[in-house]
Symmetry: C2
Subunit: 331 residues, 2 copies
Amino acid sequence: MKSLVLTELKTPLQLEERPDLEPGDGEVVVQLKAAALNRRDYWITQGLYPGIEPPVTLGSDGAGVISKIGSGVEGISNGDEVLINPGWNWGEDESAQASRFQILGVPRDGTFATEVLVPADAVHARPRHLNWHEAAALPLAGVTAFRAVFSQGQLQAGENVLVTGIGGGVATFALQFAKAAGATVFVTSSSATKIERACELGATAGFDYTDDGWAKRLQKEHGPMNLIIDSAGGDGYAGLIDVAAPGGRIVNYGATAGPPKKFDLMKVFWKQLRVLGSTMGSPRDFAAMLEFVQSKQLRPVLDKSFPLEQGNEALARMRDCEQFGKIVLEI
Amino acid sequence: MKSLVLTELKTPLQLEERPDLEPGDGEVVVQLKAAALNRRDYWITQGLYPGIEPPVTLGSDGAGVISKIGSGVEGISNGDEVLINPGWNWGEDESAQASRFQILGVPRDGTFATEVLVPADAVHARPRHLNWHEAAALPLAGVTAFRAVFSQGQLQAGENVLVTGIGGGVATFALQFAKAAGATVFVTSSSATKIERACELGATAGFDYTDDGWAKRLQKEHGPMNLIIDSAGGDGYAGLIDVAAPGGRIVNYGATAGPPKKFDLMKVFWKQLRVLGSTMGSPRDFAAMLEFVQSKQLRPVLDKSFPLEQGNEALARMRDCEQFGKIVLEI
């Protein structure tokens, strides 16, 4: 097998020849057709993640064909076309992951490879309306968006939803999911091009968050937001609290701009806001996400694909935040 | 009638003789037996509240006897013993109050008087197990605690609950309600005496929040907290985020110490915390609170009572945060 390996932090990934994988009890080997990138992969290359022990094969997202089946596995056959739920050992509590929770691709070898070893319960039939690239693009960002919008955010049809930082994988899924669920969706970005793309996907309007007063303008033109999906935090957070409707929800699945400069608790309690942390999703979230994507026939937005051998170029694109939708590796 | 009136901000209340009240359509007059103080009353005397137009009679909490009934009122008779729900015009949305929501006692004349005029739907039968002082002590703090603990906090039996700043009216009700609902309750205070009182009321342990490392000690000795009820915010907020269990809820009904110095959004999303603003409560919360208090035969904790004429002394006690439980005015 071939594997794109992080041999040392802050150095380019190396394409290595490794022994073929053999499944243990309850495991299967998936011959990968495509993988997809997450911001997590870039952070891992920079050492900005706990538990990294190079050499390790990166990659949480992948789709492919079952090629080997370990003992004790039932209901799966060689040749089955699958995608992989990369979140393992969530535990029994729907409200949060257990401490033993882990994501495929650090510490376990991931999907930037020709094959990957996973527990049998991590594979799900590939939705028939998705091609290999789309199937590989769905899992981690899809489940993260689904949990943020529905399990945590409790979106109702007809609500106003704001998705900040459109273009990233999770944000783009959040836009698609909220729109498909009957919400009116607004987005922010510092890129006019990304706002334009978001409007093509169904966003009603977009705002440049680097403009002072964007939140006031949004509220004046479209009313307050019932649900806000954010992964930035930082200085812009005060605007989110202002634009939230009384009783509104702000779901955060990231804090790429750091903690909020000001967290106005008085507004939070007076407006009865709900600030909800969310990360990834449970097996139940994953199954519900797949069902939603199938029932609405949604297709992940693909940014650009690279051959596996050009994984470093793909990571550079992720680093520079140039993408709109998912960056895919063709395997 | 006699009325304790704020004639000018930051001056003592004046006891005035005023014309007796006459009910309009759908209104009733309550001859008050007792009133109770809330921190809100002190803030109003200091001008720290919107919409204050002196002269105005303070007081949100009261209990007494129906003495006059306006036209169109059904199901209420003179002589009925009642307490008053001080929150009016909540609106249709359980998740937050409407903008026209108001609380008795600013802008409408309140309960620091021998009688008060209220809408008929604001009065509820006095729970039989409560004396007049206890009945007057219950409404605003009781509904605020009930909404924080149950409607927003979704407390489940067996959970660990932390109530910060014990001694205040809402905090003391939160302790009593959580304990009665089968939770294990912990408290914080800077006063050893208040912690002792809290333990008499059923708290398992108390911690001095001015001690560095109290949150770590709490967690080490008793595990993480599923629900935290806070009205302080401020520097201590980081400790609350640390001590919250994965998937835990932090409910804020105040921010007396200002916004959190640091709001660690990364911990919030990684731990999937729910930070929930809460203030006062809806008519549904109020009715549910009364039912809970009756079914559990709970009695409000009374701090000290003053005659109506000594309302300024009562306010001084509130200002100095000396109380444990509710400060009452005997009328």
